[in-house]
């Protein structure tokens, strides 16, 4: 509930900022996500909010084909996630494990669970309380990106830390 209120507040701030400085938002197109592109350069998400986590920390890590070990890029992201979670100890998260579409349904459910736990284990090893981190596997049921090519599949093999 608390984080929802924060989110609403952050959204209200963005709207205000956008309406007062429309020209600034247009210049901020540094190849980021849609969220960063529309966010004004000077204000940004409220610290401790879900937006803050997504934009300034990074909510997801990616895995190799049929793998659940963490790459150096993934551990760098998770280092930032752990530090952020320790900074905001009231926040709990759910780690979603996902697979690409090039596997069978049951295997991918199990693989997603492995990936979610790989993320959870890394975060808890860095001192985040295990009770704050839930895991859920969606297998191949919720692709983030459409497409039948390696680039799309690579983005779908992911662990996503979702602020609850």
């Amino acid at each position: 509930m608390r984080t929802q209120i924060i989110s609403l507040f952050a959204a209200a701030l963005l709207v205000t900022a956008c309406s007062s400085k429309p020209t600034e938002t247009a210049t901020n197109t540094g190849g980021g996500t849609a969220t960063t592109a529309t966010a004004p350069a000077k204000t940004g998400p409220v610290p401790g909010s879900a937006e803050d986590f997504v934009v300034n920390v990074g909510d997801r890590v990616f895995f190799g084909f049929d793998r659940f070990d963490l790459t150096p890029e993934a551990t760098a992201t998770l280092d930032r996630q752990a530090a952020w979670l320790k900074q905001y100890p009231q926040v709990t998260v759910s780690v979603e494990g996902h697979a690409d579409e090039r596997g069978t349904r049951e295997y991918n459910l199990a693989l997603g669970e492995r990936r979610a736990n790989a993320v959870k284990n890394y975060l808890t090893a860095l001192g985040v309380e295990g009770a704050r981190v839930e895991v859920i596997s969606y297998g191949k049921e919720k692709p983030a990106v459409l497409g039948s090519n390696e680039a799309a599949w690579a983005q779908n093999r992911r662990g996503v830390t979702v602020i609850k």
Partner: protein, 453 residues
């Protein structure tokens, strides 16, 4: 939430007063070999069969007779084993057939029919209808079988399936699979926001019903041997667990009390147990839940993914997939978890093993060099062969006679190939006669019922 038709609740009691119809006249036995289709030959020519319109003495019963004829003809044609002849070529009319105790076999030989089906529909005083049919061997000039069924008027469709099964069995020597249903996942919406609903239909795609409303993700439904219950995976309250769904009552309940995600459920052949996987702390093992005692038994204990368990028809063994050897492969073990043996060794990955109701084969999904295959292998690991191949094909399920497999295929479609189409297909064990199974929406995860009790 549920809109069940009365058809779903009817058992075999629907078809009461089964009577054997004897030939109308005494027939002289002939020496020629009886009409027979050998299911174990490869791509043999389908048998030409004349399915004549079931006649009646009033328009309503005549309409029912026409519908019964269509269902029988479509069933036999779809099997790939029969070629129903065009009724326009028939020399003897249904009315003439009805008026005489025996067909004029010469008229049917002329159009090269090898088998002939005749039938009638009549009204009974108690409001039910009586459906009679006879099957003739045209060349031998003999009746092969004749049966009568007294059913409620809305029971005609099931009677047509039961008659189709009787024809199939009399000519092939094996049980049919037409009086069956399929439970599956109905899909709709874009690939990133797919809506999935539990659905059930007759094997020919008729009587489709949606059993859940799509608000909760559901996957991998499987029939109980009684065909009255379904076990499946539901994400209700974001807690993925194996559920039991009673088709009669619409009641749903979580199966077992497990500390993590449970999935990949399947009934034992006697219906008393459900196998499933439990994923916990990054490890997936196989468990058995006794539905009477609710006792949970762990069957595998390995730091790998052990999932997709399926019992042998005698209940003595289980096949499953595991990546304990480095990649996803198929194994067998005893029902108590002992004597684990790997049975797939070829290139690629193997999953979703499902034991044939005949016990002689295990069907699987294989992934090799970016393509998906549906194949079969003997339980001892010999005789592996591929039946179907696609960009994506997955999840075979057996017809109850172990002669036909159903599975789903996905392919890129729409939005520059960024969306997905999913459809059900069936194929004969010989690898021939692949057919799309028509569904009202996109469809995946089919499970074929046993013959309806």
């Amino acid at each position: 939430m549920l809109a069940l038709s009365p058809m779903l609740r009817l058992g075999r009691t629907l078809v009461a007063a089964l009577a054997l119809l004897l030939p109308g006249v005494a027939l002289v036995p002939t020496a020629r070999a009886e009409l027979r289709l050998d299911l174990y030959k490869g791509n043999q020519q389908p048998l030409p069969i004349a399915v004549t319109t079931f006649t009646a003495d009033n328009p309503q019963a005549a309409a029912t007779g026409q519908s019964i004829t269509s269902v029988i003809s479509a069933n036999l044609e779809r099997s790939g084993l029969f070629r129903p002849l065009d009724p326009k070529t028939f020399l003897q009319t249904p009315e003439q057939l009805r008026a005489s105790p025996l067909p004029r076999f010469a008229d049917w030989r002329v159009i090269q029919a090898q088998a002939l089906v005749t039938g009638t529909v009549s009204n009974l005083p108690d409001g039910r209808i009586r459906i009679e049919f006879r099957l003739f061997d045209v060349n031998a000039g003999q009746q092969m079988t004749g049966l009568a069924y007294n059913v409620q008027p809305d029971g005609w469709r099931r009677a047509a399936h039961i008659i189709s099964d009787a024809i199939y069995k009399r000519i092939t020597g094996e049980d049919g699979y037409f009086d069956t249903r399929v439970v599956y996942i109905a899909e709709s919406g874009p690939a990133t926001q797919r809506v999935k609903r539990l659905a059930i239909m007759d094997q020919d795609g008729e009587n489709n019903r949606f059993l859940t409303d799509g608000r909760v993700l559901v996957l991998t439904p499987r029939f109980s041997p009684s065909t009255q219950e379904i076990t499946y995976l539901s994400y209700f309250n974001n807690r993925p667990r194996v559920y039991l769904f009673n088709i009669d009552t619409g009641r749903q309940e979580v199966l077992g009390d497990f500390p993590g995600m449970t999935f990949a459920p399947r009934f034992s052949p006697d219906g008393n147990r459900v196998l499933m996987s439990l994923a916990q702390n990054g490890n997936t093992d196989i468990y058995s839940l006794d539905l009477r005692t609710r006792r949970q038994t762990r069957l595998t204990d390995n730091p790998s993914i052990d999932t997709a368990p399926s019992f042998s028809p005698d209940g003595s063994k289980i096949t499953f997939e595991s990546d304990r050897g480095g990649t996803q492969q198929i194994y067998t073990m005893n029902a108590d978890g002992s004597d684990v043996k790997r049975i797939t060794f070829d290139k690629g990955r193997y999953g979703t093993p499902v034991w044939s109701p005949r016990g002689d084969l295990i069907a699987f999904t294989r992934i090799f060099e970016g393509r998906f295959y549906i194949g079969v292998i003997r339980p001892d690991g010999t005789g592996e062969r591929m039946l179907a191949e696609a960009f994506h094909a997955e999840g075979p399920t057996w017809a109850p006679n172990g002669r036909v497999l159903m599975y789903f295929k996905e392919r890129p479609s729409g939005d520059g190939g960024r969306q997905r189409t999913a459809k059900l297909f069936s194929i004969d064990l010989t690898g021939f006669n692949e057919r799309q199974v028509l569904t009202p929406t996109d469809a995946s995860d089919p499970a074929w019922s046993p013959l309806i009790p």
